[in-house]
Symmetry: C2
Subunit: 221 residues, 2 copies
């Protein structure tokens, strides 16, 4: 198996990606990169480091991006701004312009320097907030652009691309890590790990998906 670099935030989605990569390739082939970019919940980075240690992956790199807050404005990077969605706006004000492009580009530069050309990211277009950089056309275009930029054949994997949140929990369950994902990861916009604050859009999405999965699982019994 080839080595793979997982873009790993310590949240639910990217931790499921990490566990999937480990299940498929073995922990010694799995590398991870986490971005410290001034996100609301700095605890995210710490949880990512703990999970990476516990899972004995081959390497874990934290890259600090200092300038994000200086060049764009949104409620994920500015704690004094309330999280909201304007009527008619295509997505909530938590959207960080260009974030997934920056993560993928930086990860690809780092990966190439280590001889790795496969990357994984936990984006999904099915069940989300409508962020444009979570959609499949963006991921495909980004893959082509990275190849042209660095004269290299990268392969970007987005295994959650077409999964609902309920299907994601089903995947976690198949991978044997449902409880681990539920208790150890951070998705909440308020920075509360596990089941979170229960009130923010990320918590509601996560809880609704879990409830839906557990309901269908019960019905199948």
């Amino acid at each position: 198996m080839n080595p793979i670099l997982v873009i790993f935030s310590g949240g639910q989605d990217s931790t499921i990606c990490l566990m999937k990569a480990i299940a498929e390739r073995g922990a010694d082939k799995v590398h991870a990169v986490t971005f410290d970019y001034g996100q609301r919940h700095a605890l995210e980075v710490q949880l990512a480091q703990e999970i990476a240690r516990e899972q004995h992956i081959a390497s874990h790199k934290v890259i600090a991006v200092d300038w994000y807050r200086d060049i764009t404005h949104n409620s994920l990077l500015d704690k004094s701004m309330a999280i909201s969605r304007e009527p008619g706006a295509p997505f909530p004000n938590t959207f960080v312009e260009g974030r997934n492009a920056l993560f993928l580009l930086t990860a690809a530069i780092y990966a190439k320097s280590r001889g790795i050309t496969e990357l994984m990211i936990g984006v999904s277009d099915a069940d989300y907030s409508g962020y444009p950089d979570c959609r499949e056309p963006f991921i495909r275009s980004m893959n082509a652009t990275l190849n042209l930029a660095m004269d290299c054949t990268f392969t970007l994997y987005a295994p959650l691309q077409h999964l609902t949140k309920a299907q994601e929990w089903a995947l976690a369950d198949r991978l044997g890590c449902l409880d681990y994902i539920r208790t150890r990861t951070l998705t909440c916009y308020e920075g509360i790990p596990g089941d979170g604050c229960g009130q923010c859009p990320a918590c509601k999405l996560r809880a609704a998906g879990l409830a839906e999965y557990l309901r269908t699982k019960d019905q199948r019994r």
Copy 2:
């Protein structure tokens, strides 16, 4: 005229771009962004600041990218490494992986936050070192990726794309800034402004282009 953001290093190419944008739109419509990414010649950033001031452009932003040297290795970021080109290598070891993609992405994030959707970059595929991120297919792909990433219609201009170095000097002459470009900009890998060290690949390319332009100009008289 719409405002435009020029990716501006203080080198010959991007300064010609800046002067072209000023000639076409007026200095009050021209914004510039310079990246301080650990390049060999930190003086470049200082020269860029001086030129921006002298030309009275609308704004000039310097963005520090601290992590570049930490995730990839090349002779432009590592002064202890000799500049060379391995036999058979597609480009010299001065190539900074992903650099133009990073500049364009970061500039686009910054531009969008200021309501600017037109960007200019001084890449050229005609006369260069063979860097993949200077070629037109990369620029077009990057434009499409930026639009998808941020749900926005950016326009990337690369006015030097198909010019030889001699044609670039001709453009500078038409813009009335040949001497300014010749004396005030820094292209030399050794960090010497103006005519530079005369020995590195960048100086040789620059000098050969200027000599060719001046020869054809003389012949036309």
